[in-house]
């Protein structure tokens, strides 16, 4: 074993990634009937993981580059390592995963219970799987997602990236709406196609590495130093980018997301949109930009166009949706467009904004999906038309929903605003037209979000919701952390930006771009004068 001692004695990342996996195994061993014990154990493991990742976050030094590095030779024949490490970009997404998972568990407390018979929408082709499996899959997914954000070996990243498909496939296909099987397969096929295209590119990357070094290595740090032939680089870039674009998802390969989000349970949809889809945008900034800097610059114009289309297309489609979860999925496509725009505008401001937006979008979408999920569960329908005037029968719930809706439309003062503004303003420095067009989406966002709120929560109370109970304490507790974080990061985003900015700056240095000179430079008074 090629053991390189890390700065700290404990392999923090391995422990943090391994803990949920261990939890999944423990759950599998628990007796089948003890549902409550299963849930408590699952939350305990997720909570412990959260504590661990907070400890990691506290130890993190914003100016220290890649940290908590662990590196073990795994398959020396192919230069493959089990290598983990976090920089600022990875850290915030790592934390996001650790925060969201226990919240989803808490919010989905009764979701996987075998109550399908009582709930018309869910009495479908097959009985639902057990509570145990649900929570074990969520924990497994958390372990894999944490690993993805921490992986610093491209091969390991690819493995975990693909492996996340398996628990997510079973979460969608095993628990969800009537057409969940279709949605699960669609999700899987799209992802597999993307993954295998990426596999070809990973193989190609390995071949390049093997041709240039006697000792090939799949470590990110060695791959960034490769001198790849421009043509090869373009092709490999395309391979990686297509996989990430499907994952993110961007127009025109987005069609799996609305189906998957609609059929999945709200909790699963949160895991999918708030965490898994971030792997796509994370991969773009981590791998596409760093390994293929020349090709990234070459592809930028096309990607900017696609991103702008995503922004508008997602927003316009969202306005037309009748299903709450599909609507939220389309808003996410629009927001992912903004994130991709921010990344490929290649300015420090836009890329840092995009990274922060990954986190904020995760929080806002989680709040939206979960609160909407509470109502969908009560009303036994996800159709917007089946609601109306809920704010009179469930004032607390509709209040929280209003908050989620406002954060979804990026109201100033709430977290998404800061990041969306940064991403668009940064883009404006380089691509004015694109930034201007994309900014239209803010108006559209207000439209689709407020229409959603207005049609479901305000107006005369529909008879079907007249007896709807308000949120239970457990449900409120689950979303309170999200509200706190959205408010906190909205009013005081500095801590997050302090972590993100250095990492983004060094990434962009790798690409070899610097911010364009401002057209009307402000001459700062120098200190000597």
């Amino acid at each position: 074993m090629n053991w390189i001692p890390p700065d700290i004695t404990l392999p923090w990342l391995s422990v943090a990634c391994g803990l949920p996996a261990l939890g999944a195994v423990v759950l599998a061993l628990l007796p089948r009937e003890r549902d409550l014990l299963v849930k408590q154990t699952a939350v305990a493991f997720a909570g412990l993981t959260l504590v661990l990742s907070l400890i990691i976050a506290v130890q993190y030094d914003p100016s220290g580059g890649m940290q908590f590095v662990e590196e073990y030779a795994w398959i020396p024949t192919f230069g493959i390592h089990f290598a983990l490490g976090l920089d600022g970009i990875g850290l915030v997404l790592f934390l996001l995963t650790a925060v969201i998972t226990p919240i989803v568990m808490l919010a989905s407390w009764y979701e996987p219970d075998n109550v399908s018979a009582a709930r018309g929408v869910l009495s479908s082709e097959a009985p639902r799987r057990g509570v145990k499996t649900f929570f074990a899959l969520v924990l497994l997914l958390e372990a894999l997602a944490l690993g993805v954000f921490a992986a610093t070996d491209v091969f390991l990243f690819y493995l975990l990236f693909e492996a996340t498909l398996i628990p997510m496939y079973f979460l969608i296909g095993g628990y969800g709406g009537p057409r969940r099987s279709y949605a699960a397969v669609k999700f899987l096929i799209y992802s597999l196609v993307g993954g295998l295209i990426m596999l070809a590119a990973v193989i190609g990357l390995y071949a390049v590495s093997a041709a240039q070094n006697d000792d090939p290595s799949m470590l990110l740090s060695s791959l960034t130093g490769l001198d790849i032939d421009p043509t090869v680089q373009k092709w490999l870039f395309v391979g990686f980018f297509v996989a990430f674009a499907i994952k993110a998802p961007m127009w025109p390969v987005h069609t799996w997301l609305p189906d998957a989000a609609r059929e999945a349970t709200p909790g699963t949809a949160v895991l999918l949109v708030a965490i898994l889809d971030k792997i796509g945008t994370f991969g773009m900034i981590r791998f596409c930009l760093q390994i293929f800097p020349d090709a990234s610059r070459w592809a930028t114009p096309l990607i900017i166009v696609l991103a702008v289309i995503s922004v508008l297309y997602g927003a316009i489609c969202a306005i037309g949706q009748r299903d709450i979860k599909r609507l939220i999925a389309y808003t996410s496509i629009s927001h992912f467009g903004v994130i991709v725009l921010g990344i490929f505008a290649l300015t420090n401001l836009s890329a840092a904004g995009a990274t922060l937006y990954m986190v904020n979008h995760g929080l806002a979408t989680a709040a939206l999906f979960l609160v909407a999920g509470y109502f969908i569960l009560r009303r036994n329908s996800a159709q917007i038309g089946d609601f109306g005037g809920v704010d009179k029968v469930a004032p607390v719930g509709s209040g929280i929903f209003l908050f989620a809706v406002l954060s979804g439309l990026a109201l100033p003062g709430l977290a998404p605003f800061v990041s969306e503004f940064m991403a668009l303003a940064g883009t404006f420095q380089r691509y004015r037209v694109a930034a201007v067009i994309a900014t239209v989406s803010i108006i559209l966002a207000a439209l689709y979000m407020l229409i959603l709120y207005q049609r479901t929560m305000t107006g005369p109370t529909a008879t079907s919701v007249a007896n709807m109970p308000d949120l239970r304490p457990r449900e409120i507790v689950a979303v309170v952390p999200l509200i706190v974080l959205i408010l906190g990061l909205g009013l005081f985003p500095k801590p997050a930006l302090d972590v993100i900015s250095p990492a983004v700056d060094s990434t962009l240095q790798q690409v070899g771009v610097s911010d364009p000179e401002p057209s009307h430079p402000v001459t700062a008074p120098s200190e000597s004068e």
């Binding site: 398959i75 020396p76 398996i166 596999l199």
Partner: protein, 520 residues
């Protein structure tokens, strides 16, 4: 007078008995098994044969391990005992042991083996009913099995064309018979045997013809001699090209590569499932081994002549395997097409070499081991899903298996994921190794095609998983037989190999790398 002259001319061949011990053990015990068949009373035959066959294979495996490090030409140049041969021998023997356990399984079919009680009793006749009523068992399968294994061991070790042809026949003839011996659905089984025999005979004839042409070209059948003749050639020679094409046909037939794959689905479907698993894993390994030795050692210098042909065959094979598998409704036929697709993936590694044969050879060796274990395991699972008429191989019968028998469905899922090349399974590492080797050899377009074929292939594997886990079980669904220790061990071996080779492939990769040397 004349006898004296003959004795002078005849020199006894110099056989390195120690080096060919594994072959001798397997063939020797096979002959003993035939004698057992004749003299041991019926009641004791099954036990005797199982013990004897297992002992032979384990003994041969032990002696193969002892030979590790050998690198020489033995038996007057007829056999090459090198790392390549020994690695394949080890793989073949381990997989044969696993397959033998499936052959010997009795519990899943109510206390008798899966083979016809009396092959001579025609299906549907009074004689057959009597055989069934008396619960007769035919234990000839064991010597036949051993002969087939012997032929397979000989095949990749053969170092001249003549020996390769003998090995081809020795491995094929017992297999033709074994295919026709199913206890259930005998007509289908006999039809499969007939088809396999006729087409196999054709392929052998092609091989023989090619051999004759190559002999005409080089004046020798030894691989080293042919390589020498090619090395000194000028221009294009029709004999060489024709001979190469024809021997390739013979070998590609055994591998199940398109367009010589037609027999595969029918034979895989009709043959007793234990034999199907054995054929799918071991025949393919032996034939790929022989193909590599012939084309790398003897015809290596003519690479530019045969490479385009193999490119076309590889693309065709992957396409046919992956696309036609989509349309199958029978699990055994689907696995047959999947094995065709895998032959295509192997050919990608085979053809994607430029200078460094070792890369590609090591990758293929690893792939073969990974594929072999998953294949035998998957067919072992197929033997367990049964209804009143025997194995329930129609895919619709597998619906909802995940609820009836979660463990069996989960294990099958693991094998299917390995076939699909999902990460953290052996299949993924195998694909990675082979594709990486091919890309390094400059065959990146082939790798891209292979990846696309993998996507298509993944779809039909996933379809079965969906069917098992997310479909409503059929009302009169099949039951899952409780296997004896034999099948359990076979399945467990498949599971362990699939998981371990997926997680820690390094030891076997390293072994394959060390073994990737071909003497000539």
């Amino acid at each position: 007078m004349s006898t004296v002259v003959l004795a002078q001319e005849f020199t006894t061949p110099d056989i390195e008995y120690a080096k060919v011990a594994p072959l001798l053990i397997v063939f020797g015990v096979a002959v003993v098994s035939v004698i057992v068949e004749a003299f041991v009373p019926r009641a004791a035959r099954y036990t005797t044969q199982v013990v004897l066959s297992l002992a032979a294979l384990v003994g041969a495996l032990a002696s193969t391990i002892q030979l590790a490090g050998s690198e020489q030409v033995a038996a007057e140049g007829a056999l090459a005992i090198d790392g390549f041969t020994l690695f394949l021998w080890g793989t073949l023997l381990v997989l044969s042991i696993v397959s033998l356990l499936l052959v010997a399984e009795r519990r899943v079919d109510g206390g008798v083996t899966a083979f016809a009680g009396q092959a001579a009793a025609l299906p549907g006749t009074e004689a057959e009913r009597e055989v069934v009523a008396r619960r007769l068992e035919q234990t000839e399968v064991f010597p036949l099995f051993l002969f087939a294994v012997g032929g397979m061991l000989l095949f990749p070790a053969a170092n001249d064309l003549l020996m390769m042809f003998v090995a081809l026949e020795v491995l094929s003839l017992p297999l033709y018979l074994l295919c026709g011996l199913a206890r259930r659905r005998r007509l289908l089984s006999q039809e499969a045997a007939m088809k396999y025999f006729l087409l196999g005979a054709f392929a052998s004839a092609f091989f023989l013809y090619g051999m004759a042409l190559l002999y005409g070209y080089a004046g020798t059948v030894s691989f080293a001699g042919i390589a020498q003749a090619i090395g000194g050639r000028v221009g294009v020679d029709g004999l060489l090209l024709g001979g190469t094409a024809l021997v390739a046909v013979g070998l590609l037939f055994k591998i199940g590569a398109a367009p010589f794959h037609m027999w595969t689905p029918d034979v895989y479907q009709g043959a007793p499932t234990a034999i199907t698993g054995f054929m799918a894993a071991c025949t393919k390994i032996a034939a790929i081994g022989a193909l590599m030795r012939l084309f790398y050692v003897a015809l290596g210098a003519a690479r530019w002549d045969w490479q385009p042909m193999i490119w076309v065959v590889a693309i065709l094979t992957m396409g046919v395997g992956a696309v036609l598998a989509l349309t199958q409704s029978d699990i055994k036929r689907m696995l047959a097409y999947s094995s065709i697709a895998h032959a295509g993936f192997l050919l990608v590694g085979f053809v994607g070499v430029r200078n460094e044969i070792e890369f590609s050879t090591a990758a293929i060796l690893f792939y073969l081991a990974a594929y072999g274990f998953a294949t035998v395991g998957a067919f072992a699972i197929v033997t367990l899903v049964r209804d009143a008429t025997g194995e329930a191989t129609h895919l619709s019968r597998w619906a909802g298996l995940g609820k009836r028998a979660p463990l069996v469905a989960a294990v099958m899922t693991l094998f299917l994921l390995a076939f699909a090349g999902i990460p953290l399974t052996s299949g993924f590492m195998g694909k990675w190794a082979v594709f990486a080797a091919a890309w390094q050899g400059g065959a990146w377009p082939l790798v891209v095609v292979a990846v696309v074929a993998s996507v298509v292939a993944a779809f039909f594997y996933v379809r079965v998983i969906v069917l098992m886990f997310f479909a409503e079980p059929a009302a009169e669904g099949p039951t899952v037989a409780v296997p004896s220790i034999f099948t359990s061990v076979a399945v467990a071996a498949g599971v362990v190999a699939t998981v371990v080779l997926g997680l820690v492939p390094q030891p076997l990769l390293q072994l394959a790398e060390q073994a990737a040397r071909l003497v000539s």
